[in-house]
């Protein structure tokens, strides 16, 4: 689009920062404000900024993967997280938890919690991220 040097130079840094921040928001989402929806939106915003500064072509190159593929993969991950429970004989979308290094004696020590719920939230993140970029980039290229 336009070629403001300041914008072009700043976006590289800003996009990386926003992407990092979006992952931070995603991961803390279960206990504090954040989560897949918000993370995905922040991440997408970063690349929207990049697209405004550098153009859609450059953004696609930086992304490496087609955004619609990212969205579909996200949907697949979310579905897989839901189906996962079925392997343990539980209802579809029942959360499965594994507390890495937790002390069984202390109920408050959860160690490093890894769960199908987190996987699901990552799927949500990818869907939101991919969908928004699909839209914005297609519209950018059109104009």
């Amino acid at each position: 689009m336009n070629n403001s040097i300041i914008l072009v130079a700043a976006t590289r840094l800003l996009t990386s920062l926003l992407l990092l921040f979006s992952i931070f928001m995603l991961l803390r989402g279960h206990n504090l404000p954040g989560g897949g929806f918000i993370g995905g939106l922040i991440g997408a915003t970063g690349f929207v900024l990049y697209a405004i500064a550098q153009g859609a072509e450059a953004t696609r190159r930086t992304l490496r993967y087609e955004p619609q593929n990212i969205a579909m993969v996200g949907l697949g991950i979310a579905l897989a997280a839901g189906v996962f429970a079925a392997f343990f004989g539980e209802a579809f979308f029942t959360g499965q938890w594994w507390f890495a290094g937790a002390d069984p004696a202390d109920p408050d020590d959860k160690g490093l919690p890894i769960s199908s719920v987190l996987v699901f939230d990552i799927g949500v993140y990818l869907v939101v991220f991919g969908s928004i970029l699909t839209l914005v980039l297609a519209l950018e290229e059109e104009v």
Binding site: P33, L41, I132, A138, L139
Partner: protein
């Protein structure tokens, strides 16, 4: 505050209905954005407004301490916002593509699928 929010939502809805009745599809689109905001506010306020008590459970506790804001409508509204955005983006591309192909934003002139019968 809740009654005042209700009155404000009434104004929002009135403005969006007025916009959606316009022939210009871009105005229709603006109406769509406003009415999704209004709908979100209705859901949110129906769960009652609670100031400065977000639905979080503090470290060390098993449940929220004291009364916190109603989490259920918040979850509903959160997804509604994202879906509303999807709807808006689709409608926008539709308006945009329609304008490119038909050369008009006036809904009366978009008669490809339903041609007017017998002249006028």
């Amino acid at each position: 505050m809740e009654i005042l929010v209700a009155i404000m939502v009434g104004v929002l809805v009135a403005a969006s209905v007025y916009l959606m009745l316009a022939r210009n599809v871009l105005r229709f689109l603006f109406g769509l954005i406003l009415i999704s905001n209004a709908a979100n506010l209705i859901i949110f306020a129906s769960g009652r407004l609670t100031a400065e008590a977000p639905p979080l459970i503090p470290e060390g506790a098993d449940a929220p301490l004291g009364t916190v804001a109603n989490a259920l409508p918040q979850a509903l509204v959160l997804t509604a916002i994202v879906i509303g955005f999807g709807l808006f983006a689709f409608a926008l591309t539709l308006v945009y593509r329609t304008y490119q192909n038909l050369g008009t934003l006036n809904s009366d002139e978009m008669r490809l699928a339903e041609p007017e019968e017998g002249g006028k």
